[in-house]
Amino acid sequence: MSVSVLLFARASDLAGTSSTELEFDENPTVAEFKLALTQQFPQLEVLSKQLLVAVNNNYVQDGDAIPDNAEVACFPPVSGG
């Protein structure tokens, strides 16, 4: 399966792109997804412990599975307001 990813803020700057696509044999967990993302963009390592993942506008945890056709986003801790 293919997972489309949106990147924001410093994650986007470090990766040099605001979106990417990752391939998996089956639905990955969030932890597996993060591992694949930082393999594709080693420069994200500096953020890795802080990277947050959202699926369909909700925060998800390392053990959660990423469903088919999800909108996945990855970004550092928020700093709005």
């Binding site: 949106l6 924001f8 803020a9 410093r10 700057d13 500096v46 953020l47 802080q50 959202a54 506008n57 925060y59 909108e71 986003a73 970004f75 550092p76 801790p77 928020v78 700093s79 709005g80 307001g81």
Partner: protein, 157 residues
């Protein structure tokens, strides 16, 4: 990006926020108290001087999370009207990046709800700010991240 019911106004905007429009929206004869909160661009963070902030959002999720926070607040307090407006793009000193407005029958609830709304917004809503320091460098503000900026000195309103 916006979400609008007659008693709830949630929006991301890329232009200056007109606070008087927010005030008019939340003021109602069923409330005796209105609290408005503005987060504004502060010049000094410790010894460091800012010239401007750039705000970026993940628009769909930001609006969804602001809506979620407003709904939670309406369960906790007798809120008559509520508004959460966040601005994106470049902001100059003293401009408002966020305006929160809430009205309730009595004042204690308006203060408590207003504080809850901005506290939760700053924790949950996917918006990020980038400092433009006076020395020409720029820096994303990421609480707890390895940004070279101690967390205790992170700009916050």
């Amino acid at each position: 990006m916006s979400f609008n019911e007659s008693d709830c106004w949630i929006e991301l905007v890329d232009q200056p926020i007109d606070v008087s429009v927010v005030q008019e929206f939340v003021t109602t004869r069923s409330a005796g108290a209105v609290v408005l909160f503005l987060g504004t661009v502060r010049e000094m963070t410790g010894e460091r001087q800012t010239v401007a902030l750039d705000y970026q959002a993940y628009p769909e999720m930001a609006v969804a999370k602001m809506q979620e926070i407003a709904s939670e607040a309406k369960e906790k307090w007798p809120i008559q009207k509520v508004a959460l407006i966040h601005r994106t793009g470049r902001l100059e000193l003293a401009e408002a990046s966020v305006v929160v407005g809430v009205s309730t029958p009595h004042r204690g609830d308006s203060f408590a709800a207003g504080q809850f709304l901005i506290d939760e917004l700053k924790v949950r809503v996917p918006v990020w700010k980038r400092e433009n320091w006076v020395d020409g460098t720029t820096e994303w503000v990421h609480p707890g991240a390895d940004s070279g900026l101690p967390a205790s000195e992170s700009p916050e309103s």
